[in-house]
Symmetry: C2
Subunit: 142 residues, 2 copies
DNA sequence: CGCATTCTGTTGCGATCGCAACATTTGTGT
DNA sequence: ACACAAATGTTGCGATCGCAACAGAATGCG
């Protein structure tokens, strides 16, 4: 039970700290994740619904998140040529550059806030623990 | 880096699953935490600002959260007799009963989603890991 | 082919939350 | 005692997000 309360408190504070570390770049963690996923996608583009699934966002949530990124010129919208229902989110050069600028600071933020506090063994334990929890979430009554 | 992505994905899914488990009681996790803290406080009451610090909420966030709980009759507001600035949040009998009804289900939810997936050793590791991260958050440049 | 079903993305609505500004009250320094 | 600073809670405003409803497009089936 102590472990549970510690988990609740620390995850909240960790997320807040990481968000504040990222704020000077003008990005939120959600924006950053969109840019990362797009930068790793073939041709730097991805269907909206695939993006929503990867980011665990509702369709409407993703639409509004992309609205902001499109307004800032970091992502563009393109219609698919093979399926006229789908919209593709496309990383722009400005988006790629913004990500390249923000990534080192964010990686350093995660490293100092999280991994520097843990031994190598604990990092392995952390990965094993959350993998096990994730498997449990897959197989329960959802 | 894999550990990091797993952590991000699983914490999000775990929170969602716990929120949905708690939804049938009509409470959110935030509401539940308010009731828990008040039920453990002397005389079932607490100053707004102390409550906000404990729950890691902004003053305005706590005001609106209490608005909902007061509307539902689970919490009452009382003026302090010694400091006329402060408002006390007071757990009502209805709030106490609602908590008593919801707690077993929520504890079972946390147990099945989290602790049943882990060995006793992993639970200890989890506590140690997040305690270390929490200590790191205390001592860094905030 | 024709029609129902499914998939995809957007919009209206409401809920949640933080920041800045504010009013009130308390504490502090001289 | 008086003025200034700090603490406390609330409100306006904007940002974020999910659900339900919707419209357009593709797919399956008789």
């Amino acid at each position: 039970m102590l472990a549970w309360r510690t988990y609740i408190e620390v995850t909240a504070r960790l997320n807040l700290a990481l968000e504040q570390d990222l704020a000077p770049t003008g990005l939120t963690q959600g924006d950053y994740q969109v840019l990362v996923v797009l930068s790793e996608a073939p041709e730097h583009r991805m269907r909206m619904c695939d993006l929503a699934n990867l980011l665990q966002l509702s369709p409407s949530g993703l639409t509004r998140r992309l609205d902001g990124l499109v307004r800032d010129g970091l992502v563009g919208r393109a219609a698919s040529e093979t399926d006229r229902r789908v919209m593709l989110a496309v990383l722009t050069p400005a988006g790629h550059e913004t990500l390249a600028t923000a990534a080192p600071d964010h990686v350093e933020s995660v490293r100092s806030r999280l991994f520097d506090q843990l031994s190598d063994t604990q990092v392995d334990q952390l990965a094993a623990i959350f993998t096990a929890i994730g498997l449990g979430l897959d197989s329960e009554q959802p």
